[in-house]
Homo-oligomer: 361 residues x 2
Amino acid sequence: MARIFNFGAGPAVMPQAVLRKAQEELVDWHGSGMSVMEMSHRGKEFLDIAARAEASLRTLMGIPDTYKVLFLQGGASLQFAMVPINLLRGKTRADYLHTGEWSKKAIAEARRFGEVNVVASGEASGFTDIPAVSDWRLDPQAAYLHYTPNETIGGVEFPFIPDAGAVPLVADMSSTILSRPVDVSRFGLIYAGAQKNIGPSGLTVVIVREDLVGQALPGMPIMLDYRIHADNESMYNTPPTFPIYMAGLVFDWLKEQGGLAGMARINERKARLLYDAIEGSGGFYICPVAKACRSWMNVPFTLKDAGLDEAFLKESKAAGLLQLKGHRSVGGMRASLYNAMPEEGVAALVDFMRDFARRRG
Amino acid sequence: MARIFNFGAGPAVMPQAVLRKAQEELVDWHGSGMSVMEMSHRGKEFLDIAARAEASLRTLMGIPDTYKVLFLQGGASLQFAMVPINLLRGKTRADYLHTGEWSKKAIAEARRFGEVNVVASGEASGFTDIPAVSDWRLDPQAAYLHYTPNETIGGVEFPFIPDAGAVPLVADMSSTILSRPVDVSRFGLIYAGAQKNIGPSGLTVVIVREDLVGQALPGMPIMLDYRIHADNESMYNTPPTFPIYMAGLVFDWLKEQGGLAGMARINERKARLLYDAIEGSGGFYICPVAKACRSWMNVPFTLKDAGLDEAFLKESKAAGLLQLKGHRSVGGMRASLYNAMPEEGVAALVDFMRDFARRRG
């Protein structure tokens, strides 16, 4: 098979070096005679794998000691419930910023457990922009402020961290985590499904300030209480061991890329290359997102002539550029440029786009 | 590394042929240029992998068309909550059989959502026996009857399927599923964590009769409603794609072993070999479990002289017989003989045990 580049939004491309190492170790991990998949989660070998993965993540993100790192299951979709269940803490209201499809889902789920104050909505712009901070109606009594730093579908990314004052800030970082440095101490809780920048699907990472843990709503499943997982080092029940191992390999790889600062330089270059190609296409390609909040990770764009969409997808696929079809709610194309997408992949995409525009423009 | 045999209770040994195939395909699945871990869960390739896994499971277990097969996350521990949340269906009481540590956990969790009637308890026997059916206090008005066909820790396995009359029967089959044929039509719901007989951890299989789906308790997370998963073919959110792929490989391997009937013959032979060695040790080894309900999958045994436990564990490990230490709540040893444990592994264990008894007896 010739080299292909996978622009899917997730589960997504993984670093080739990580996949090759996993392949090498798959049947017999470090001479143990066992696959990682065969190890007891309470055995010395796996406990060491999990501890190293956590330590690497702490180093990469600079996570303060006052935060717990949890390796859970259920994806961001289960966190949409676990956040209000755990963080309402006797309050009745939470603040949510509505900037696209994923914050919409988070809001709908939170309404099952409390009152949601939509601080601001990007609806007027068709979710192509972040509402001006001056228009936000923050509630100082809110239990927390939830936002989606990067909307995977709309391609809208916050270029700043919202100031929530004394209210704990909660972020669904599924599609932006590890793409650039972030000051964790400004957050009460960060969560992310693994299948974009962390590892394979089936793993959810939660980073939570310790003082926010321990006041879950009564009458809920014990598995949805952060405390039970925090108290048991994510081993209250059997964790998703292989995805945790893969995440650890990805973290090691990130260190080799210069950590998150190094990764950010690469990601910015990749994003600029693609946005410049769109802007320089004379209107053949259009990115609907406001320039100030264009995502480094997910780049939606349309063709001026939607009648060419099918040809674009067919020919790009033939050129080894896969999964460029836009989300059904947006249409057009979407190129996801996660950490593991190499710069030559973006260069190949941009070359193809220029050639396609020349031939069909 | 010399051949080792892993008797751990889970995550546990997997078939070598399955691991080798996964290794071969890890970086480039079937010439797609992608790892299975990199595939979109909504893409053609993965949809085909998931559909084939489900079809294989249906064939192996003879699952009627009136049952849904769900691939979920969260393990049996989350099912302990999802079962009452979904199956109480306006009723207030459910029946539970208490036969060991895992049914105890299921009972504790169910009490968060309704009234639990403990039909019978094995406590008087120290959970080494199944209470006589004549002593069961079944409630004909119960929403369902829950039991644990095989207690992973205690090593107690039901040699029969309880008769619940018109009340739906629910089984936590985590450590017995696929070890022998079972008449699925006698159950309302079967669930199992994958990490014993199905595949790697992080996947939960639920088999549920369609008419029991759709009446979840209000005020619960949408992710805990079987309906949302049933209506979306387990793709409401991103499923644990790699574990599902591995499960599919295990199902293919099981077909090659002659399906569940073939597997049952092998499992019975393996269990008999070990139990006979214990019985024939002149009291050097003792199995506390009543003969009629000794598990084929998890065999707990103690040494007459507990002072030899440490030497037994050290020497067995040196002989390549791993993870024989019993659960802390039972002590002594436990050998798990899941499907993927080859007969020569049990033979090696039995040889070691005889030799150890001869030297230390």
